[in-house]
Symmetry: C2
Subunit: 155 residues, 2 copies
DNA sequence: GGCTGTTTTGCACTTTTATTTCATTTCCAT
DNA sequence: ATGGAAATGAAATAAAAGTGCAAAACAGCC
């Protein structure tokens, strides 16, 4: 894992906000030529500093979804069990995000479904069918106040 | 808010996975010409079905951060208080995500900081300084098992 | 059923952006 | 200072996005 310099950081800061910004525009902003910016971006992708490039959709246009925050407590902390559970959560499309955390609860999931029936099915698939799951607690999201993946970039 | 057809859905499904996909490639995949795809994408942006276009960064390249899941319980549910609290959470860069939820806790926050000292400062700024906050519970994230904003698109 | 206005499309073309090439510069390490 | 590696900018090429326009598809209406 290589070290990134200030220019890389500035480029990343721009791209994590808007990756349609042209190389020329970025270059003007940070004092580099467009090709220099392009080579740095290529490198940032190659080394994996940029994991991907996506459009962020407005869920309102895709029918009404229900966002649910789920806290999952496991019976034990056996490595193999945790690893398998992670694998299952990761491969479930409705699971938008999954955090393995300290404290009473072991997992925190952000789940997005279209109907409560769909969610009920999911709970069987993800929790009731997993003997390692001791209990889970669901909270319905009334408002997604803030949503994103941006991280503050040290300058 | 207009209705989207199957072709729009397919375009959105591609873009939320990789928005660098060329219009020609999308067109080939769904049976449209590149210009037709371009016009649809333009429209999807205009109406706000596409909220933005971003690069997803790998945090590992930006120094070691700490991801913390925070559950916040409020004293009361006064509209004005909740609204102001939402505003504060939304405008704090370290707050990556904020959900207003049902149940015992009112807010769920995903917070990303670089040091525990930074987090301690944040807790004062966000919680101790807010008389509406009754209590908050922090869980340290040991593993970001899955992270993203994708939603399943009905086909 | 056929007509008409509207919308969407594909093709050809223009413009913009990304990418490559290459000579020059910068930056270290010696 | 000096040689070598890495990064840069200018110029040229390649690729993609965006535009104009005529044709096709479609919906509503007589």
């Amino acid at each position: 894992m290589q070290i990134l310099d200030q220019l890389d950081h500035k480029i990343l800061a721009v791209l994590q906000d808007n990756n349609m910004t042209s190389q020329r525009e970025i270059g003007d902003a940070i004092g580099l030529s467009a090709p220099a910016v392009q080579r740095r971006i290529t490198r940032l992708r190659e080394i994996g500093a940029i994991k991907g490039d996506i459009s962020v959709l407005n869920p309102d246009y895709l029918g009404s979804q229900i966002t649910i925050v789920v806290q999952v407590e496991m019976e034990t902390d056996k490595v193999e069990l945790i690893a398998e559970t992670k694998r299952i959560f990761k491969n479930t499309p409705q699971v938008q995000q999954c955090y393995y955390v300290t404290g009473e609860n072991d997992f925190l999931l952000i789940i997005v479904v279209y109907t409560m029936k769909e969610y009920e099915g999911l709970t069987h698939q993800l929790f009731f069918n997993n003997p390692g799951v001791k209990r889970f607690k669901s909270s319905i999201c009334m408002d997604i106040v803030k949503s994103g993946l941006s991280i503050r970039i040290p300058s």
